[in-house]
């Protein structure tokens, strides 16, 4: 009998860039704990680094510690990652994409983070609920 229960991995991170190391460790353990293809680790890490870094750098107007909660759930055909923070409302899906066809002279330095998330993931959704930003990133699993 195959087991089809969804598996969830939850990680509570504080709003410091130093936490990226813990995020990386968690993602690197996924191929083993959730039986995911190792080739997924790098793109997932990238998408989550961009999302997490944006939150740490821009979401909070005070100097208080905040918790950013990351949940990774493996369903049968997709992996769903939610990132929840209690910072000020911000919907990254509304950010305009950079023009990646510009010649190097005209390319802007920076502004690629959210674009990379959208390109790597199959779906990116945002909602504001109970004073919290909830970002849902979905990656289809092909097997």
């Amino acid at each position: 009998m195959m087991e089809n229960d969804d598996q969830t991995y939850t990680l509570k991170l504080s709003n410091q860039l130093g936490e990226l190391g813990r995020l990386q460790e968690a993602l690197e353990s996924l191929p083993e704990t959730m039986d995911l293809p190792p080739t997924l680790v790098m793109p997932l890490n990238l998408a989550m680094e961009e999302a997490f870094t944006n939150i740490v750098n821009y979401a909070f107007d005070d100097d208080n510690p905040h918790t950013i909660e990351v949940s990774i759930t493996k369903h049968e055909r997709e992996l769903v990652i939610s990132i929840v923070d209690d910072g000020r409302p911000y919907n990254p899906t509304l950010k305009e994409d950079p023009d990646i066809d510009l010649p190097v002279e005209d390319r802007k330095i920076g502004g690629l983070g959210i674009f990379l998330i959208k390109k790597i993931m199959d779906d990116v959704a945002y909602r504001r609920e109970n004073e919290k930003n909830i970002l849902m990133l979905t990656k289809k699993l092909t097997q």
Partner: protein, 109 residues
């Protein structure tokens, strides 16, 4: 991330080893600016051992490319791992850098 520098022929070969992420970005940017300030006009970035890059890293590479262009210098990248090449493709960076399959090819010309 470890950054190595080797002079080969008339190129400065800069080896990028490890992760070019948000955590490492400041230190790597400092090193790269230091290299640019030495006015090298022919630089190869050997990415053979670079196994991760995020937008913080791409940002640095774009700064280097813009600076090299401003002095009519030559910048080449080589040995990109497939996962890194993919990030270059989706960000449009494949089109703004000269990317060669290996160091030997990059040194030719």
């Amino acid at each position: 991330m470890n950054v190595t520098r080797t002079n080969i022929d008339d190129y400065l070969v800069v080896g990028l080893q490890g992760r070019l992420d948000t955590i490492q970005a400041d230190a790597v940017e400092k090193t790269m600016l230091e290299i640019l300030d030495q006015e090298h006009t022919r630089i190869i970035l050997d990415c053979k051992e670079m196994d991760y890059i995020s937008s913080s890293g791409l940002r640095i590479l774009l700064i280097v490319q813009k600076r090299m262009l401003a002095v009519s210098g030559t910048l080449k990248l080589c040995n990109l791992q497939p996962s890194i090449q993919e990030i270059f493709d989706i960000s449009g960076f494949s089109m703004i850098f000269t990317i060669l399959p290996d160091l030997k090819t990059a040194l030719k010309d």
